[in-house]
Symmetry: C2
Subunit: 364 residues, 2 copies
């Protein structure tokens, strides 16, 4: 046991790009003393995760703060009934050699400290496959996307912590699993050691073709960790009723403000979707004709009849006016459903002039 605590603090808020030496400052300070209900721990393992860079770039960590990180720690000294010296725990000491746990010590978000039993699995798994990382793979693939046997699942960053877990869960569920990774050794590992059906490299010029060939039945589920080029290759392969888990877009985390790909990440709301568990449904009405048109006509017809639903039309007069009305519709110049009266309507109860005069509000 040393009498010094060592830590990395944030030296500046990184403006762009990837980490460099100047972003971090080494700190030496006294080991803290546990108060009543508290225990002193030493860090055994520190977890490095992509999301930490996002926190630093976005200014969530202040300059001078000890960098956040999940840890596996050993209890050295305890004034708490909950922790005994020699206990191993999951906690969030961050990038430092020592830290406190117990009464009055802030819990980092949802990362409540918990004891680890070394008999079950190596203690490092508490920040890996049996920790948030594993739960991230499990909830994103299994809970959100509900894989069905025989479906094709693509996992990006396939050899990374989340990717390898997600892909193996998909294999257990009977799916065809195709990884995307970088160097050949990673691709080989994913196929030969983890049992993925295939793995293609995003570093290859033929990436998009390789992926298409590896997914002859298209893609039903995409577990997204990377974004950018990796993501672009998956898009044209998506099947009907496919699902995407938007776990991360690591390729975007280092982008500068002027970079289009970084803009895509921010402007599509990826950070919000991650936080709010948002589902985005693509809508193509043709998918619902067979399944829902009859129910719709019955229900909507009833609502209109009962006066619960009104509608407004903007009727252009004569086929000659179609281009002009079309342009007006696209740029906000029409009001309500836009249509063209091409010939006469013998069923209308009033003239077009009269319908326009009352604002084209029908079924009032």
């Amino acid at each position: 046991m040393t009498d010094k605590n060592h830590a990395w603090t944030l030296a500046r808020t990184p403006s762009a790009g990837w980490p460099t030496d100047g972003d971090f400052a080494w700190l030496e300070c006294p080991v803290p003393s546990p108060g009543p209900g508290q225990a002193l721990t030493r860090t055994v393992y520190l977890s490095l995760d992509p999301y930490q860079w996002g926190r630093r770039r976005l200014g969530i960590e202040a300059v001078g703060d000890i960098c956040h990180g999940r840890t596996v720690s050993e209890v050295l000294e305890s004034h708490s009934d909950e922790y005994q010296p020699g206990d191993f725990i999951f906690n969030t000491n961050g990038w430092q050699t020592h830290g406190l746990v117990g009464d009055g010590v802030d819990v980092f978000g949802y990362m409540f400290p918990r004891k680890i039993d070394p008999a079950i699995a190596p203690i490092s798994t508490a920040i890996g496959i049996l920790g948030m990382l594993g739960l991230t793979a499990y909830s994103g693939l299994y809970v959100q996307c509900a894989p069905q046997s025989g479906e094709t699942v693509v996992v990006s960053a396939a050899s990374g912590g989340v990717g390898q877990a997600a892909g193996q869960i998909a294999k257990i569920k009977g799916c065809r699993v195709v990884g995307v990774a970088g160097i050949q050794a990673k691709c080989d590992y994913v196929v030969n050691e983890l049992g993925f059906d295939a793995c293609v490299s995003h570093l290859s010029d033929s990436y998009a073709d390789d992926l298409r060939i590896a997914c002859p039945d298209g893609v039903d589920i995409y577990y997204e960790n990377v974004g950018g080029k990796t993501y672009q290759g998956v898009l044209p392969l998506l099947n009907q009723n496919s699902r995407i888990t938007l776990c991360g877009m690591i390729s975007q985390y280092g982008n500068t403000d002027g970079n289009d790909a970084g803009k895509v990440w921010r402007e599509t709301g990826a950070p919000f979707f991650e936080r709010s568990n948002t589902q985005v449904h693509g809508l193509f009405v043709g998918n619902y004709v067979a399944s829902h048109q009859a129910e719709f006509l019955s229900e909507m017809g009833g609502w209109i009849h009962d006066g619960l639903v009104k509608y407004r039309e903007d009727v252009a007069d004569g086929l000659e006016t179609a281009p002009e009305a079309f342009s007006a519709m696209l740029t906000g110049g029409t009001f309500g459903k836009t249509l063209v009266l091409v010939g006469s309507d013998p069923t209308a109860d009033s003239s077009l002039a009269e319908r326009r005069a009352r604002g084209n509000v029908l079924a009032d």
Copy 2:
């Protein structure tokens, strides 16, 4: 009855922007003669819809083609048992005054011709509230997003054909409904005539603030027709477990290739999502800790124990190396779950050197 058919054809594939006169050419040609099993119709109403511009810009319609469009038509002459002169039908004559229906006439996608009963509702509704437009609103809002009473629903292009229907369905389901529209008259109509709870204008400099104030409990469902600035204003308001229906992004349909917003639309895969009915799930693991962690630990622990799941770690040695390992992880230089051995691990069954030598593959 005239003896001439008139039509608008596509004069060129538009490269960018909004429609101009040169995009369309007026055509006069003979009215077609119906063959056996066919009927001749005259177009009463032609529907103008934003998706038509996408078809033309993407080259799906060839130069010289009669422009596609959904229509309400009247049967003039019939050699078919199915259609009688005087019948009104939904079909896809396109931008022309006459067209054929029946045997051997191509059906446009899922838009099967069907007879319309003028006694039920005005015949124009077959290309409006009781047609694909209504089904688009119904399936996107009701089927995909499952609105719950008391939730807040935001509808963009609120006074347009789809928007007014979607918002009213949400009202029937007991939601707070906030529209986004352009000019004041549209906002007033949506609130005063359709009964939306509020409507804000995207033309205002205070749009984002106005929307936030109109949604004091955040946004649970967003019915997306517009994209761009309208969409950006909704993002920060999204609640936990919110849902977005990606119906259209009309603001992007006219963008040029160099335009960032247009890139967003294409690069996020919006066209693919629409077609494939894809669901995108944002993932934040913290949302699943309370609900799924216990089940996860039990299931994943069992899979590891049974050898169904392996994992690989990349262990950096010593806290001093954390910044270097962190940067390597972000740029693809590590392999597997990245962690730092900060202190000694008394529970490990082998030294770090031995673990590295066997590729850090644990639980083999």
